[in-house]
Amino acid sequence: METDLGLWAVPIAMLGGAIRVSTPILFVSLGETLTERSGRINLGLEGTLVFGAMSGYALAVMTGSPWLGVIAAAITGALFGLVHGLICSLPKVNDIAIGIAMMLLGMGLAFYFGKPFIQPVAPDLPAIPLGWWSDLPQVRAALQVNVLFLIGLVAAGVLWWMLKATKIGLTLRVVGDSTDAARALGLTPSLVRTLATAAGGAFAGIGGAYLSLYYPGSWNEGISSGQGLMAVALVIFARWNPIACVGAAMLFGAAGALGPALQTIGVSSGYYLFYAAPYVLTLGVLIATSSPTQALSGAPGELSINK
């Protein structure tokens, strides 16, 4: 039974929406953090996200297992990252431009191979009802948390620890801050960067699988509409810190949930303007956190947006 919550319905729906909408953004931004920490930008994660959504959905339809879909999405994502990483290892090749090309290619391939999967229905990923303690159906709906969101939270913590306290993290940071220093230490910067881009691609692929297998939970060509790109912009806002990525992704999830949340209390005019809220917020954050004179604090030294 629906209980009338009045205006309270909006923040509750936004909380639920923040958890639901933020998961793919969280995964992409974690992946991009890993890649950018190694000194490269992969703008193609938008295409990887869409291809991950398609391949995950397709495999879930064919095998009946959403988890096999997630694994397939991670593998295809890693392949896209690997291609980006290998191409960028060639001299004089621009990583941002390659990202744009890979974005188009990823979307093109996803639309091409995804045509037969628009109709069939794939099994959903499971969710955990964390709202069991409440009698309010709205609260229960909001706290229906998907397993992948929790995995994303754990991954953020692990990445943070890895970057800070492990040898892999140190290697990544050295390569990201100075190619010359890394060479002097006997590291191979282009190999490290290629692996970091492949790992980043795998994260983005998983984010895509979440889109098609949980929320919105179907495969179509407009499934991402820029979420991968927003996540890349968010990494700057999160200052290349995996834990901060969680907060940033939640904020953007909430912004994305604003339109649907207002609809629940009957505000339906200006739907398309609310729909644009996450893009406007991303742009605003980008403007607020950029600086014309100095390199961004916490930014890896080899990153091309700082040069």
Binding site: I96, I100, L104, G108, Y112, G226, G270, Y279, I287, S291
Partner: protein, 369 residues
């Protein structure tokens, strides 16, 4: 440059300064993109083979539907118009070292601007209304992309990400306006703005089934080439694109150059949207976001941001797009195959950046060594 260069004698066909040397230097910029394009098409052919389709049939159909008859040429040239203008929105900022990829947003807003003026200007004669339409479209696009340049210069905001985000915002704005304040109540299935009266529609070039946007696009390319290659302003822009600090030390107005070039590029893209509404669609609606802005990115990179080279490249890609319907019907290939082709060609073109300066043939300085 090596020591051997100095030792090489001047004059004569095989010297670094001769006619042959000039041809060799210039041919690098033509042969490498051409080679990359062919390799891209070869990879796409392999892709078709893996799908059990015949590349020969594909290219024959593209030729037939894009360039085979007078009718198909007119179809191709009609699609060329917006592509020329969209590519300039990438090529002009590129002279300053900026990668602007949000031309789609300027196209959409340029079209909406014309749609919004349809009703207020319906009583005016065409000689007044049409220039106002075009100016409004150019202004909308120019302000939109000029803002990207301003954010880049004065706030240090990455122009690639910002312009693409703004494209999504522009499309949302269009949807809001077309479904809300600007909606023609008579447009039921496909929400649109009020249609332009027939008298105010931009017609075709006499004797052709191609609208005037093609002429505008070609003129815009020539003007852009003159601006970049033959004026001090263009020279200043190239200096600033090479090294911002050096340009500032020289006293060049880097900020004004950035905003000016991005705004001009945006104005051209806005003009593309204005022509789409005033000459093709008749009213502004969701079909404005047809992806011309994204194809324009590929065209500009293929043309190495040279406005004159944009003309043949745009015609070629327009031919591929014009044939997509026929290819779909005859070969059962999804329309996304054009996007796959573009993605592959784009990737190979960017990889070919690594080939410059690698072959002795193209650098006369090294011929004798």
């Amino acid at each position: 440059m090596s020591d051997r260069t100095i030792a090489a004698p001047a004059g004569g066909g095989l010297s670094p300064d001769g006619l042959l040397a000039g041809i060799a230097r210039r041919s690098e910029a033509v042969l490498i993109p051409l080679g990359a394009l062919l390799i891209g098409l070869a990879i796409f052919s392999l892709f078709l083979l893996t799908q059990g389709k015949s590349p020969a049939e594909y290219f024959a159909l593209v030729y037939k539907a894009g360039f085979g008859t007078a009718f198909s040429w007119q179809n191709t040239l009609s699609r060329t118009a917006p592509l020329l203008l969209a590519a300039l929105c990438v090529a002009l900022p590129a002279r300053l070292g900026l990668t602007v990829i949000g031309g789609e947003g300027a196209i959409v807003l340029g079209g909406v601007a014309v749609g919004a003026l349809a009703l207020p200007l319906s009583g005016f004669p065409a000689v007044i209304a049409i220039p106002v339409f075009l100016a409004a479209g150019a202004l909308a696009g120019g302000l939109w992309i000029g803002a990207v340049g301003a954010l880049r210069h004065w706030r240090g905001v990455n122009e690639t990400i910002a312009s693409l985000l703004m494209a999504y915002i522009a499309i949302a704005l269009m949807n809001h306006l077309v479904e809300g304040p600007l909606r023609d109540p008579a447009s039921l299935n496909k929400p649109s703005t009020h249609p332009l009266p027939d008298a105010l529609r931009i017609g075709n070039i006499p004797g052709w089934d191609v609208h005037w946007g093609l002429v505008a696009g070609i003129v815009a390319c020539i003007v852009s080439w003159v601006l970049i290659d033959r004026t001090t302003l263009g020279f200043a822009a190239r200096v600033a694109g090479g090294n911002v600090r050096a340009a500032q030390v020289q006293g060049l107005p880097v900020g004004k150059l950035i905003v000016g070039f991005t705004a001009l590029g945006g104005a051209f893209a806005g003009l593309a949207g204005a022509f789409e509404v005033a000459a093709v669609q008749g009213s502004a609606n969701a079909s404005l976001a047809a992806g011309y802005g994204y194809t324009g990115i590929l065209i500009a990179f293929l043309a190495r941001h040279n406005p004159l080279a944009i003309i043949p490249v745009a015609i070629l890609l327009a031919g591929f797009e014009a044939s997509s319907g026929l290819v779909q019907r005859r070969m059962g290939l999804p329309d996304a195959s054009t996007l796959v082709l573009q993605g592959i060609v784009f990737t190979v073109i960017l990889i070919s950046d690594t080939a410059y300066g690698r072959w002795k043939l193209f650098s006369p300085e090294r011929w004798r060594s």
